[in-house]
């Protein structure tokens, strides 16, 4: 039986594509997931936790490993082994901590000889690390041969202030009432039992939410209320404490009001008044 030409040609074309597809499926499958925001502001973290968080940022969201190696000379960027101690000797009069912070947010301020000025500002898009993340990353770099001394207050308050290129998408206008949301926060939601929000609440059980609108996306806040476990736990706080039932206990209006209230928390003292 003679196979029609159209069938032969089609089968041949499919076989060719099949080979390419098989090969593509047989090599390591690497996805690029959107990075999660790390929030440490108001958190009670130890130096070890901070270094661990910084190391994860170094390997993950910060994509530092693409150019920098630790204990191996890179062609694009310097070897960072011992940088925690070495940093103190780079610029006269500048501490290791100050040098490292400057290297992250103003990378071209001081260049290591022999390397091109290719490093992006880590707090600007597309990396857009927030203040907590720059804090953790600095701690990790300090730990490479030096002492971890960096505090959150050492990181300039302007760091990550542009919202990480989210200007367009972060402009979320909810029909909720922030005042009513504050009442939910203090009342039915019982959030105040664990969280501080500006001048209200003082409990250290959960993270301080006084700047939550500045350091987290609206999507994160909304998802965190409905499904806290899926959004991870802020470093230094116990897992599974936040109740997963708010989605059932709050009405739709209360939920929207609560989110609207949280979106007003940008660190200014007057955002939440008793």
């Amino acid at each position: 039986m003679r196979v029609p030409v159209v069938l032969r040609v089609s089968l041949f074309a499919l076989a060719v594509m099949g080979v390419y597809t098989y090969y593509a499926n047989s090599i390591p499958q690497l996805q690029s997931k959107p990075p999660e925001e790390l929030s440490l502001e108001g958190a009670n973290v130890t130096a070890d936790q901070l270094v661990k968080a910084g190391q994860e940022l170094f390997k993950g969201k910060g994509v530092c490993e693409i150019c920098h190696r630790i204990g191996q000379k890179g062609t694009r960027a310097p070897d960072l082994a011992g940088v925690g101690a070495r940093a103190a000797k780079r610029v006269p009069g500048k501490t290791a901590k100050a040098y490292l912070i400057e290297s992250l947010i103003e990378p071209t301020a001081y260049l290591v000889q022999g390397y091109p000025p290719i490093m992006p500002k880590v707090d600007k898009p597309p990396l857009a690390l927030n203040r907590s993340e720059v804090w953790a990353l600095t701690a990790f770099l300090e730990s490479l041969g030096g002492q971890v001394t960096v505090k959150l207050d050492d990181i300039p308050r302007t760091v990550g202030g542009t919202g990480g290129g989210q200007a367009q998408v972060a402009e979320l206008t909810l029909p909720g009432d922030p005042k009513a949301g504050q009442a939910v926060f203090m009342g039915k939601g019982a959030c105040i039992a664990c969280h501080k929000a500006g001048s209200i609440g003082a409990s250290p059980v959960g993270p301080d939410l006084s700047q939550i609108a500045k350091i987290q996306t609206p999507q994160y806040i909304m998802a965190k209320i409905l499904d806290p476990a899926s959004m991870g736990t802020v470093a230094g706080y116990p897992r599974g404490v936040m109740p997963p039932t708010l989605g059932q206990t709050l009405t739709a209006k209360e939920y929207v009001d609560l989110v609207s209230f949280l979106l007003t928390l940008k660190g200014e003292a007057a955002t939440a008044k008793k």
């Binding site: 030409v5 159209v6 032969r8 040609v9 089609s10 041949f12 074309a13 499919l14 060719v16 594509m17 099949g18 390419y20 597809t21 090969y23 593509a24 499926n25 047989s26 090599i27 390591p28 499958q29 690497l30 996805q31 690029s32 997931k33 959107p34 990075p35 994509v63 693409i66 150019c67 191996q72 062609t75 694009r76 022999g114 091109p116 290719i118 490093m119 992006p120 600007k124 898009p125 597309p126 990396l127 857009a128 542009t162 990480g164 290129g165 989210q166 200007a167 367009q168 998408v169 996306t217 999507q219």
Partner: protein
Amino acid sequence: MVSFSTGKSSGIRRSGVFARQVAPAICSGVALLLLVHAIPALAQETTKAAPAYRAFPLVGSRLAVWAIAQIHLNFAAFILGVPIFAVIVEVMGMRARDPRYDWLAREFVKLVFAAFSTTALLGALLLFLFIGYYPKFWAYMTGIFYQTMWVYAILFFLETFTVYLWYYGWDWLSGRRKWIHLSLGILANIFGTAIMVISNSWVTFMTSPRGVDEAGNLTSLWQAINNYTWMPINIHRLLGNIVFGGTIAAAYAAFRFLSAKTHEERALYDWMGYIGNFVAISSLLVLPFAGYYLGREIYAFNQTMGITMMGGFMSWLWVLQAILIGVLFIGSNYYLWLGMERIPGAERYRKYIPYLIMVLAAGFLVWATPRSMVVTLQEARAMGGTHHPVLGFLGVMSAKNTAVNLMILTTFLSFLLYRRANRVSTRPWARVGMGLQWAIFGIAASIVTFYGVYGYFVESIVRIGFSVYQVLAVLGAITLVMAIDIPMFKGARSTGTIRWGQIPVRSQYVLILLAVTFTWLMGLMGFARSGIRQHWHVYGVMRDTSVDAVTPALGYAANVITTVTAIFFALVLFIFWLGTLGEKSKGARGLIPVVAGGSEER
């Protein structure tokens, strides 16, 4: 010996066909214009109330947009590439005074018609998907580019009418008015290219935005258009479209060759396949240079993006790309070598083929060798690091540039041998000319190799500049060799006529392989271009916060690309089938020029 008959249809019948084919295009154009007119208002309404994203049923919004965008792009490349191919063939016909070329050009412009309305419909569908499922993103893009969208729609009208005039005026504008006809073809391609250039500005803005402030507000429309990757993409896509047009034309010819019932038909479609492949190879030779230009501009825009693209989660993609390009180069050469079997006198050159294969295979292996791999801990331990201790040196750009330049020189040499297969130069200076040609090849290969090796001993910033010398050496060699070759073989003695149609059947499958591979490669490069933005709609300006923000792995992408490519070819096959229906209804066997026995022409 070529006989040619022109089928003349009545004016009434022609106007009927014109009305049938033009009407849908006009309707599509009007709809597009109305839609563009409505966009700003629509977008403003959207930003007030609509969510940032909606979920497309079953497959999700990303996959829906991806699939439709890729099919649309394939069709767009088809309707842009085939007319470029047709104009090139028409020019060849004018120069050779051979009516076969004119017939071939006309055949392909005819095929473009059905694809025209399909492309417009897919474009409209893509637009609806953006408006419906990515309203916030689309509102932002419209806010930046709405003025260019008007120009896009107007150019679409101009291109449509010019192409119709070009096709339907083929007989009317023949003879002494042929130059007007050719000008129409060129004009249609200028409009088509301008359309592509405008839409490229939207796509490239997403990758390398410019002309906006930190908050994403427009500061300069021209800068937004003329962003880092705009011009490289324009050049890359223009060349890519020519290759695509050539490979599709060649695949069509292969399909008809395999279906042919008579020797004359086989002879005709063998010749058609050769012309298609010739046009494709000519453009394919310079395509890698355009690719490097694009890569360089990506690095210039943002080092992190460039490094993520080449050494990050996408590193394996380039291994796959190298395999596909290797298939294209080796396939093109193999087709030429098979074609030489039907040329008396070509036996002289058979002895060179093993050496050519060796260079191509070595180049292919070097190009397919990765440098920075994402590997498991066990693999890294086994290799002693993320780079292989020996082969890792072949993964750097010095080696890859050297490999691809030598592969291009080799392919050009194959073409040169094919070109002179049945010719013996009668020029008294032929020996000197050939000696010069070999010397030029040797010098070019030496320059390429020298800078390739030297590149290992200098800093990266210096090394990048070496690729320019390598490219210039290869392009210079091609120009000089052809400058000697053309006069050297003018009036050459023939060793026999080409036996068109007497080519092994497997050669036709090579042509289909090239078309499928190139189309698949287009899909892969589309994924690469889009994927390097990762979780950004507009890199660094507008974050993708949808549920689809994950950039999928290569396997998933390959599944999508294969499905989309299969759908595209099914639709193209349908269009080709429509073309044959037209022939049958006209009883139009007489339209086909018969290549009897053989021909001197190549």
